[in-house]
């Protein structure tokens, strides 16, 4: 496993998930994510795992939720149209606190859109796509190797926090091939399934939050006879109409993620030491942005870069500090301007935030982003 290999982002994502212990995949074919399903169909049986192609996207997430409840580490993969269809059950996973990883290889929408051109148009859907209030963890890799790491991390977070985690790939990273050296199996940290810490006689209730605010509902078939529902429920797992329990539950779901926000915020900064401007980017666009920042530096422009791997929860602190350091933040995205709204909010007027959207099926060229950097530097000089 430690040898150098030429592989695709989707392939690295599938391998990362398996390395983290995923032994169940359910899904429905959709470009540009299909390779993940195909790899799972081929590899899982030999590992004693299970692959099933379901009749539709909704069944694709339902089957993995069921498998997760019966003790498996489970993954589904999709793209924009399928991601839209899966939203109701993503919410089910949030409230019933079921560990689950959804890989969404973004393509251009809305609807069938421009199949299957690259886009980063599902950033807000990843956060707000399902109804009601809930936190969300979404991670977006920018290299093939990082697609592997993000998959490992997503599986661990899903298990640790008992919540759905979204791998927000884009078509660029998903289909790109790079030379990668994967970590050795023994170097991969696997988060095991949480188990009840006491018996029914000792007062076990499946939804009692532990110190980390995460409960330990028992896997089906382990003798605990628990009840799981998408209705608001109390610690016993049974539905309740109580206003207080409802309020406490929604609050706890948010707090179990908010309290670890710093720990799960992953990002890189480049050329920031003396930067007066910054480019903030993620996913495939961050690769182009990096090249553009390098080019602008050669021209003597003091520009740095922040690259977010953790998209949700949003890296408020990172952006706040960035905004205190620089005059302007440029946000290139393959969409009409989505994450820039969060950057503006977090920057809170400390720096000017400039959106650089692109939504014409083509990826950014370094020249386009470099020109935008030159323009914002020139305006200040005036």
């Amino acid at each position: 496993m430690s040898q150098a290999r030429l592989m695709q982002g989707n392939e690295a994502c599938a391998e990362g998930a398996m390395a983290a212990g995923v032994n169940f995949f359910g899904g429905y074919p959709i470009t540009p994510s299909t390779e993940i399903a195909e790899i799972m169909a081929k590899e899982l049986p030999a590992l004693g795992g299970t692959f099933i192609q379901m009749e539709d996207e909704i069944a694709g997430i339902a089957v993995v939720l069921g498998a997760a409840l019966a003790g498996r580490k489970a993954l589904t993969a999709t793209s924009g149209p399928g991601f839209s269809l899966k939203q109701e059950l993503i919410g089910y996973g949030c409230i019933a606190e079921i560990p689950l990883v959804i890989a969404n290889v973004q393509r251009m929408g809305p609807s069938t859109g421009q199949p299957t051109s690259p886009a980063q148009g599902d950033v807000m859907q990843a956060r707000w796509g399902t109804h009601g209030d809930h936190p969300m963890i979404a991670l977006s890799p920018w290299t093939v190797r990082e697609s592997f790491d993000v998959a490992v991390m997503a599986v661990s977070y899903a298990e640790r926090f008992r919540t759905p985690v979204i791998i927000l790939l884009d078509e660029v990273v998903g289909h790109m091939r790079e030379k990668v050296v994967l970590p050795k199996a023994e170097d991969i940290e696997i988060y095991p399934r949480r188990k009840p810490t006491c018996t029914k006689e000792e007062g076990y209730k499946p939804y009692t939050p532990m110190a980390d605010l995460v409960p330990n509902p028992a896997d089906f078939g382990t003798g605990h006879r628990i009840h799981v529902t998408g209705l608001v429920h109390d610690e016993t797992g049974f539905p309740t109409g109580s206003a207080k329990v409802t309020e406490d539950t929604i609050k706890r779901l948010h707090e179990k993620i908010a309290r670890v926000q710093d720990e799960i915020t992953h990002y890189d900064e480049f050329f920031m030491e003396d930067a007066e401007y910054a480019v903030l980017a993620y996913g495939g666009t961050a690769r182009t942005a990096y090249a553009a920042v390098e080019a602008a530096r050669k021209q003597g422009i003091k520009v740095g870069m922040a690259r977010l791997m953790t998209i949700w929860p949003f890296a408020d602190k990172v952006v706040k500090e960035l905004a205190q350091k620089v005059k302007k933040i440029l946000v290139p995205e393959m969409n009409y301007g989505q994450l820039v709204l969060e950057v503006e909010r977090a920057a809170a007027g400390q720096a000017m935030v400039i959106s650089l959207p692109k939504y014409n099926t083509e990826i950014f060229t370094p020249g386009e982003i470099c020109t935008a950097i030159e323009e914002l530097a020139a305006e200040v000089a005036k």
């Binding site: 359910g26 049986p45 299970t50 339902a62 089957v63 019966a70 539905p239």
Partner: protein
């Protein structure tokens, strides 16, 4: 304490169903079928969708899962494949199973995966107050069909048969004892089993269609439900509103989780 009471979470009762509802009879029949078969209570899982009947999962003393509307069968599929030693029983209603969950229903049958689907058919959406379902007979009234439904209704048993289910039966809340046996046979069948249980909804269906109270609705069922063998001998004219009950169809067919176990074996041997 009656023998089957251990299969209920007595502290969750009484149930939420309306006076005269037949769901309790069907739920009790499931518990009695489990008792009859002596299933391991810790290795039996009840999965339900959304609707009146789907609330039954919360009352039953097993690992139980109350899923989203229409999705009980794919959730149950995941449970069965993740741990094939589990016996998985699906509780669903006519709207849940044949409208929003219709695609999952036919594909579960197509796979012939070992699930026992008990379809509580009260011919109406009860939880939401009486809208027409795909099993509301043409011409019957509902809040969304105030002058009578113009939609054709499914026969879920024929649908399951065409799709590949290996055990299909129909029982009723009136014929409570035979219903227990039909469910028990369904659970024993190693494959996809459908037991359609006709149950009365006097509040949201019967009342609007002048079918009388619960006892009158049950009387209608007793007069119109005909054992399969006798039903086949009736002329079309005699059939009228009558419908067959009993085991309607059975076949030997490969079961999905067992077939997938062979895939795993093959893949591991080939390594």
């Amino acid at each position: 304490m009656r023998n089957y009471e251990k299969y209920f979470r007595m502290n969750r009762l009484p149930h939420i169903w309306c006076p005269g509802c037949g769901n309790g009879i069907v739920m009790k029949s499931i518990a009695k079928a489990v008792e009859q078969l002596g299933l391991d209570q810790d290795n039996t899982v009840i999965v339900s969708g959304i609707g009146c009947s789907s609330r039954a999962s919360g009352y039953m003393n097993f690992d139980t899962l109350h899923t989203a509307h229409g999705r009980a069968i794919p959730f149950a599929t995941g449970i069965k494949l993740a741990n094939p030693k589990l016996k998985v029983i699906v509780i669903t209603g006519d709207g849940d199973c044949t409208a929003i969950g219709g695609n999952h229903f036919i594909h579960g049958a197509r796979r012939n995966i070992d699930l026992t689907v008990v379809l509580f058919n009260n011919n109406i959406y009860g939880m939401t107050g009486g809208q027409a379902s795909p099993l509301t007979p043409t011409g019957k009234k509902a809040t969304t069909a105030p002058l009578g439904s113009v939609d054709n209704n499914f026969d879920p048993c024929e649908l399951a048969k065409a799709a590949g289910a290996s055990y299909i039966a129909r029982g009723t809340a009136f014929h409570a004892k035979p219903l227990v046996d039909l469910i028990a046979q369904g659970i024993s069948n190693d494959g996809f089993s459908l037991v359609e249980a006709i149950t009365q909804c006097p509040i949201s269906y019967g009342r609007r269609n002048k079918m009388g109270d619960a006892s009158e609705m049950l009387k209608w069922v007793s007069e119109n439900a005909v054992p399969q063998g006798a039903f086949e001998k009736l002329s079309d004219e005699q059939k009228g509103e009558k419908f067959p009950i009993g085991v309607l169809y059975q076949k030997e067919a490969p079961e999905y989780s067992a077939e997938y176990a062979k895939v795993i074996k093959l893949a591991q041997e080939g390594k």
